[in-house]
Symmetry: C3
Subunit: 342 residues, 3 copies
């Protein structure tokens, strides 16, 4: 379930109620009486949870999911695990958005702070931690020992920060669990809602973003970098990662230990990096990729496919670097030929 430090779950609902409020159909009449207590990603859902399948990349996860219920397209129904109740929908993602909003109607609530109590009475601040002027700390937030928090930084309700962290001025933190010895530069935005919405008629329906941002020990986050929280799964920055300025990390991205991301790198959602991946400045990663341990990606590349362990890639679309060099050379020759003709 969504972390109760950050989200309050409503319900439970019967599947019949969820069918009605979402507009989806029941897989069978008997499914309507199933009781659903929460939404969850298919890979971690249990018997009282409802998930959804929208992207065929995840069909294998669906086939073995322990979710009690799932929102799927009718043609996928046959692949459901035995005993799973179904909501059938032409737009599973949109209907999931409606269901999730029923369970979590307040998921996008901005933190409310009280100017008369900048540090909420229920928050815990460790020994030798110094808060700059104007720092706000929300209800039940926990900050460890020996931290320095810069002026006007806003720490949302339930956020946990470890020991010996240096967080600069003007930082926004919400829905986040942060390790020890983490440095966050000025203006970074951590844990805000990701970019999740489904087409709904002429507009878009926002999908509740119910995950967290989890940052390991010894991480550096650069100035004005943004790390969205997960949509259900978490967004995870592994221990020892070094993230430069103005980097954008979308929801559900996972970086393994010791990754280095130079300035202005960007991630669409749900891509997963192994340990010690390095990406040069302005690299872009498409969504839902797997990047192997120790992979290196040259600056400004556009990564559109998985990359194996230890490989070095470059270009747009990114290729093994030797192929990219060959392309560059071939292009140069091609032009020289044209020039001779011209």
């Amino acid at each position: 379930m969504a972390d109760p430090r950050f989200f309050s779950v409503h319900g439970p609902f019967t599947l019949a109620e969820l069918a009605k409020l979402s507009g989806a159909g029941l897989g069978s009449p008997a499914d309507g009486s199933a009781v659903v207590r929460d939404v969850a990603p298919l890979e971690s859902a249990g018997a009282a949870d409802i998930g959804f399948l929208d992207n065929r990349l995840y069909a294998d996860v669906f086939a073995v999911s322990k979710a009690g219920a799932c929102i799927v397209e009718p043609r996928m129904a046959a692949k459901a695990p035995r005993g799973m109740a179904l909501l059938l929908s032409k737009s599973p993602y949109r209907d999931y958005a409606r269901v999730a909003a029923a369970f979590y109607p307040d998921s996008d609530a901005a933190d409310v702070f009280d100017a008369s109590a900048p540090v909420h009475p229920s928050a815990r601040i460790g020994k030798d931690t110094v808060l700059g002027p104007g720092v706000l700390v929300g209800a039940k937030a926990e900050i460890g020992r020996g931290c320095r928090i810069g002026a006007y930084t806003v720490i949302g309700a339930g956020v946990v920060i470890g020991d010996d962290c240096v967080i600069s001025s003007h930082v926004s933190l919400s829905h986040a669990l942060i390790g020890n010895k983490v440095t966050i530069e000025a203006g970074a935005r951590i844990g805000q809602e990701g970019f999740g919405f489904a087409p709904d008629g002429e507009g878009y329906l926002k999908v509740p973003q119910l995950g967290r941002t989890i940052i390991g020990d010894d991480v550096l986050i650069g100035a004005n970098t943004t790390v969205d929280r997960g949509s259900g799964p978490d967004t995870v920055i592994g221990p020892g990662c070094m993230i430069d300025n103005l980097v954008h990390i979308g929801h559900n991205v996972e970086l393994g230990r010791g990754c280095i991301m130079a300035g202005q790198v960007g991630f669409a959602g749900s891509t997963k990096l192994g340990e010690y991946v390095m990406a040069g400045g302005q690299v872009g990663f498409a969504g839902h990729l797997r990047i192997g341990r120790g992979a290196r990606i040259a600056a400004k590349s556009g990564v559109m496919r998985d990359i194996p362990d230890g490989a070095t890639y470059a270009g747009f679309p990114a290729l093994p670097v030797r192929d990219w060099h060959r392309q560059t050379v071939a292009l140069t020759r091609l032009v020289k030929g044209k020039r001779r003709d011209g």
Copy 2:
């Protein structure tokens, strides 16, 4: 004229006075006595306004403009509409900057807030709207009902915000009109001066930025995204647009209804998008383009030309996506050929 909620106009000036202060020449001696009350874009200027023509893309607009006066290069003088008074200049944009600065000497004034009255007495705040700690609201600003405004957000004089908006912490808003149900994530910068200046000797002369940023209903603006105000025309984000984190939208850009812009997309000035355009992460748009309704642009593309309705483009420079795929395949073959030779 520039919106009086945000800008105070000086003047009027005779064209002779404007010629003197800008260094431009009069189209004819009789033009000198024309009275000019304001600057305005050629497409919306009236008889008491002066515009300028610097970019030949807009020669057609010039030829039918109702502006009372215009700053143009001498070679364009013959194309002026009948009765338009002219200032002749080798550097119309620079001389416009001088003229505009005479009418609007305070256009770049930072908002002055009073710490003893964080919400200006002349501002209006709707029912059930909650302001976080440290929120500043300038003179005559209007905020609708049911809004939540995050800590330390700064709302400049004259800004209008509709109902049911969620604006997070550390946001800067100025020179902006914002609809209903708009979400703005932390650290977004809306309505600041655009990137406008003209060469002037060894340096640059800043061009007063006299437009606004107009944001429609149901828009999402991501964390640390920047939307400059218009230079004279407005910058417009249509209803229902979804803009991700760290996007840069330059002055005079217009997005139609329901456009989706992924993370780190960037726009030079004055490009106009139809409805429901989608751009993947890190796409760049050159200036002064027209992008058709429903166009889709693949991540990391560089768009240098207009795109027709409904087309899908990719690459740098961006091409119809099938051509781009063919190029990619052709390049791969080319390299394989070289490899066999090698």
Copy 3:
């Protein structure tokens, strides 16, 4: 030495002490008694300073350096100037990090402000300068006359700002010297630590960033742009430079007078631009390059090599623009050929 307005030097140390704490070896036993008072870049180091050589691009600087001591790989020892004491290391950059941290253990200390004295008593604020609500000014900072400083902007200890500057809201300034008539838009981050660290076992060791950010007169810095301070040398933005929104400028970058950088341009470290260089939006510059006076780089290019004075480059990797156009045309023909075959 590092500017004492921003950094406090510890020591002195003998080279034997530095060898012990860094794990590096002494070039000769006699070198151990050398007294070292500071770290410094090789190009500006003096007889009491220790530098390091990690990047062979700088071997020539090493060969003529006046540094009293240097950390180098053993194979470079023979190229040392006469009389230079040496620390021999397989990882000069990592061992420099350890040495520099001994001299400057507090280099990453966040500014500590006192909420009861938002303007430190030792700071100097010029006549007719207006500070918005919540502005913080650190110890011994100096702000000139006629400046307007926006709400919640944080100005670190020792920062110097000239006359007639307009600094918007939510700006972070530290370790910076800023000229006259400078405009800084909302949310810009100036002078924070650069992206410097050395591999150290399974993790990374942060390298103290001991330089400053120096901004000349008449500069414009856009919203949410980041300009890191130098690592030892300074980061320098020459007079009259125009920098758009969301630009990232890494440590030790130098921009000559009058450069224009459009939105989302990014720089890796230590690249140096001559005067009046123009770069379009989203251009990326690799590190350690020299870009000639008056060079122009088309939007979205990736610059991987030096560019001569006055040249126009485009593409990725960036080429002279005519070659890039030829490539584009050749690619188009190649594809047309394939299409006919298909």
